[in-house]
Amino acid sequence: MEMKKLLNDSKKLASQYTTWVTFVGLLLLLSVLTKGNALRWNSIRNLLIAESVRSFAALGVGMIIITKGIDLSIGYVVCLTASVAASFAQNPDYASAIYAGQSFPLIVPVVAAVAAGGLFGLFNGYLIAYGKLPPFIATLGSMSIAKGLQLIYTKAAVVGSLNQNFKNISQGSVGPIPNLIIYVIIAAFIVWVVLRHTRQGTNFYAIGGNAQAARVSGINVERELMMVYTYAGILYGIAGTLLASRLGLANSLTANGMELDAIAAVTVGGVSQSGGVGSVSGMMVGVFTMGLINYGMSFLGVDSYYQQLVKGFIIIVAVYFDMKKYARRS
């Protein structure tokens, strides 16, 4: 009897913190399998760096999913913003640079990319909030538009030969801590403040939970929706900048498929597709859980075809348990 109760209680607790349990479980599994080798600071650091850019995309789409939306345009918008950033950071003596012979202050690529991302977000947001397009369709369209713009802008060429100052944005570090990790912490903190401590954040949850009730409660649903897509766009712009800086180039394949990774990560992190639920800590744990899976399997030498398979199953299982929490609404 006591045993049963204990089991029940731990089950309840586990279901409440599915994401954390998955994450810690994987971490333990990996450390056992590799006899602790996988968990050296160096490896962890690499993992964090590898996931940092995706974190920005996840934070953006996480907020969107809280409002019961979705964004399929992430991958190509990040690709576009990376190309925009890179184009303003090419060495002036590089013959096939987009602006050959010109050099720009470091602020230009950053601002240009963030502006491009923000504008795209605004566009998505406008279509969805005021045009009343379903988010799936609106962002499906803008995904293709972003891809087209990127190809036109770069003439389908690689934007390479970036100057060292620009590359240092991502590649530098403060003491032992890589810049990228610091950026992620700052971004996560800001999004946390917005979601937890501002009126707007509360409004996002309310809109996702019951848009009609939100409207009746005096929330400007249209404006808030437009804003959430714009914020996400700005985050994608930052992601693009950091990605170009880290890779030292941008091309039409940069960030391809990032929308799926980001959506999968936040979903694993407990952001519910039915809207109105999710937290920044969940989103971040989701990102690192997915990262850990990738990284762990590579470390163990799992064939990359199988990696894809395992990843798919893990997403489904994590979300399955998460959905059970909300299944019995009455």
């Binding site: 509360t202 019951n210 409207r215 409660s217 005096g218 400007n220 019995r328 009455s330």
Partner: protein, 500 residues
């Protein structure tokens, strides 16, 4: 062998995190009787019925139908075995037709395995005709009024030809005529030896239709009594367990200057209300009466900016407000408790604290624009305490509260915005008798502070007992304005049926 009971639930216990919703409850219903299940908000009535219907799995206890032990794994299983239920909250698919909703999950099929739409519509027509319900089988259920939708749910529950029919507050949005109609249907069921479990907070209904009454309090069964052994006061006493004040408070407010004026308001939808004018003064409670379909809710929604208008003017505190939206309305001091709790009231996945404070966040910002969580929580808790919202904590998700307690949270939400004009559309729907009078008391306090209230209500006693004046609508038109002296049930009914 026939068992003496159609339904026996023995020592049912159900625990939710932080609440013992049912504590060894035993409940027995005889066939061919109407058995009322009574209790305050949160007593455990709906939970008990959900255990029967396979929506919740009870932790302990047994359920017998006709003497045989049954445990339904889900609602489908229950329906198959002769138990059907009208849920407290509407549970239809708004985008589909009436027929599709009634036959949801058991559509008649053709030989080819495809849905036989023709038969489905004909069967529905037949059913509605038998029950004398005037609704077309092929109209979209979401386009019907809430009361019509509830009537469809009743038809649906009856259509299963079950041995046990559970009705969880079936009349919460029906008007008197429709209630009378429902009672006719219930008597038909009784004649066919069906056991009906009837949950309602409306006393007069219990005495009109029930044969036996079981009373629950705080998750426990207090007892079962033949209705003839109970008086109104005794029943309330059993439910509440304390002395409750059950008189309409006398409104002692003094009528002040005009605070809201509506001139020739006409809805964009030409079948809705037309040419409505009235004025509301500080310290006044204006009741809005009428039958279902009289467009009362639509009128209120238009004043609050939820619904579009074609013509007309709205003046708040002397200032004309054009192109009104809910946000503008709130800025001008309006508040509105909507009729459809599920559709436009609750945020199911947010906690009680946020559900209460969501419309007043603006007033609780720190200097740098961040939310002051502590004050928000305290203030939200204060309003919920005043209304006695029954909940384990303020962090409980609102979807885990009983229906009546959800309603109290919504009322708290609008009280917290400190509105000058509060529109209340069926404010006491689903609220237990005790709490009802607490709400009346609060309405009184509001008008005594010089605020004004518009109350739409289908409950005559409430309308007559609380209003300074009653405006009656019929088919979208104002058929009269009655002041306190003229106000009687007959006068309201006469005006409400003027164009019929």
């Amino acid at each position: 062998m026939e068992s003496t009971f159609a339904l026996e639930m023995e020592s049912i216990t159900k625990v939710f995190p932080g609440v013992r919703a049912l504590d060894g409850v035993t409940f027995r219903v005889k066939p061919g009787t109407v058995h009322a299940l009574m209790g305050e908000n949160g007593a455990g009535k709906s939970t008990l019925m959900k255990c029967l219907f396979g929506i919740y799995k009870e932790d302990e206890g047994t359920i017998k139908l006709n003497g045989e032990i049954h445990h339904f794994k889900d609602s489908h299983d229950a329906l198959q075995n002769g138990v059907s239920m009208i849920h407290q909250e509407l549970s239809n698919v708004p985008e589909r037709s009436v027929a599709q909703n009634i036959y949801l999950g058991r559509e008649p099929l053709k030989k080819t395995g495809l849905i036989d739409h023709k038969r489905m519509n004909e069967d529905t027509k037949e059913l509605l005709k038998r029950l004398e319900i005037d609704i077309k089988p092929d109209c979209r259920i979401g386009s019907l009024s809430i009361s019509m939708q509830q009537t469809c749910e009743i038809a649906k529950a009856v259509s299963y030809n079950s041995r046990v029919v559970v009705m969880d507050e079936p009349t919460s949005s029906l008007t008197d005529n429709e209630v009378a109609h429902l009672f006719k249907i219930i008597r038909q069921l009784k004649a066919h030896n069906v056991a009906v479990v009837y949950i309602s907070h409306k006393m007069e209904e219990i005495f009109a239709i029930a044969d036996e009454v079981s009373v629950m309090r705080d998750g426990k069964m207090i007892g079962t009594y033949p209705v003839s052994d109970l008086s109104n006061d005794r029943l309330i006493n059993l439910m509440v367990g304390r002395d409750a004040n059950l008189r309409f408070p006398t409104v002692k407010s003094s009528i002040g200057e005009e605070i809201l004026r509506v001139e020739n308001l006409t809805a964009l939808n030409s079948r809705s209300f037309k040419d409505i004018s009235f004025s509301l003064k500080r310290g006044e409670i204006l009741g809005i009466g009428g039958l279902v379909g009289a467009q009362r809710t639509e009128l209120m929604e238009a004043i609050f900016g939820v619904r579009a208008i074609r013509e007309g003017k709205i003046f708040i505190k002397g200032e004309e407000v054009s192109n009104i939206t809910p946000r503008k309305a709130i800025e001008h001091g309006l508040g509105m408790i909507t009729e459809d709790r599920r559709g436009s009231g609750i945020f199911p996945l947010l906690d009680i604290s946020t559900n209460t404070s969501i419309a007043s966040l603006k007033e609780y910002l720190s200097k740098i624009g961040l939310l002051q969580h502590k004050q928000l929580k305290e203030e939200a808790a204060k309003y919920n305490e005043a209304l006695r919202t029954k909940t384990p904590t303020m962090e409980t998700l609102i979807q885990n509260l009983s229906g009546g307690n959800q309603q109290k949270v919504i009322i708290s939400r609008w009280l917290m915005t400190l509105p000058d004009i509060l529109i209340m559309d069926e404010p006491t729907r689903g609220i237990d008798v005790g709490a009802k009078y607490e709400i009346y008391q609060i309405m009184c306090q509001l008008v005594e502070q010089g605020k004004a209230i518009i109350m739409v209500s289908s409950e005559m006693p409430e309308l007559i007992g609380m209003s300074n004046r009653v405006m009656v609508l019929c088919n979208g038109r104002c058929t009269g304005m009655l002041d306190k002296q003229q106000c009687s049930q007959e006068a309201i009914m006469r005006l409400a049926t003027q164009f019929m």
